[in-house]
Symmetry: C2
Subunit: 141 residues, 2 copies
DNA sequence: GTCAATGCAAACCCTTTGCAAAATT
DNA sequence: AATTTTGCAAAGGGTTTGCATTGAC
């Protein structure tokens, strides 16, 4: 049982989720991936563990609900998943050609929220936001 | 033939799209909707015209390709569609409870792009971006 | 022992594809 | 007349549901 196991077992348990082998595998996979993954990508990487696709979908749903994982839409058919990063509110730059993904921080969300709430008198609080950039990486440009 | 018909007929033609009754109906529907619509919402509102669902999907695809319509993801299962607004780069605030939508402008995209490109040395150009806020409207708060 | 999570089969829903008929340019 | 666009039927692909079995707590 390595350090990672321990960490995520505790995190799962404190979210009232049983720390099964399947869940620990998926969480660590996401941890190591370094970029958002589709359910299909995760599924392929789980082949050795023989995790059933249904189980994966249910897993991702409960991870999302517990706030452990975030779902991101890049405009394609499939949603992407990544571990929620408690420290940094980061966003993504996606190459529309080769699908490369980089992170960036500093979207100045507080300022934008203030501006938006001043414009729309109908809203009271903002709890969440999505912000993704699309363009071309240096190789594809 | 009202004023709207003429406008959109020309717009469709200049995008090399035939201005069929079905297309004009959908374009005007989106024009009047004032907020993004799912394909299912549009489909229901087309019942009287008996537009086939397949036709609607193909229509939305060609509208998107020609830049007449933008697709937006609010994190749910279905994507939303709205007329592309050439003048204003506007974004949305969505109530997570009642699904109400308001617009806002001024996401300071130029500044964020500059910041993001400075952070990610791997990207050269940004061509597009998504930015949506989620929260509670005054009624639901 | 209790309750949650998994596996499996089947269903579900949204979307796409192929081809012939109809409509627009 | 040439080419798009539509309608229909069928298939495709991702995701969800119900239920019995397995496993974590």
């Amino acid at each position: 049982m390595n350090k990672c196991d321990v960490d995520y077992k505790q995190i799962l348990n404190s979210a009232h989720l049983h720390a099964t082998d399947e869940r620990l595998f998926v969480v660590e996979l996401l941890h190591r991936a370094l970029k958002p993954q589709t359910s299909k990508e995760i599924f392929k990487k789980c082949k050795n563990l023989k995790i059933h696709e249904t189980t994966l979908y249910r897993m991702l749903a409960s991870f999302k609900e517990s706030g452990l994982v975030k779902q991101i839409d890049f405009g394609g058919k499939l949603p992407y998943f990544e571990l929620a990063d408690m420290e940094h509110d980061h966003h993504h730059i996606v190459c529309t050609h080769c699908k490369k993904v980089s992170d960036f921080t500093g979207c100045d969300i507080d300022k934008v929220v203030k501006k938006a709430l001043a414009q729309s008198k109908e809203f009271k609080t903002i709890t969440n936001h999505s912000f993704e950039l699309f363009g071309l990486c240096k190789k594809c440009a």
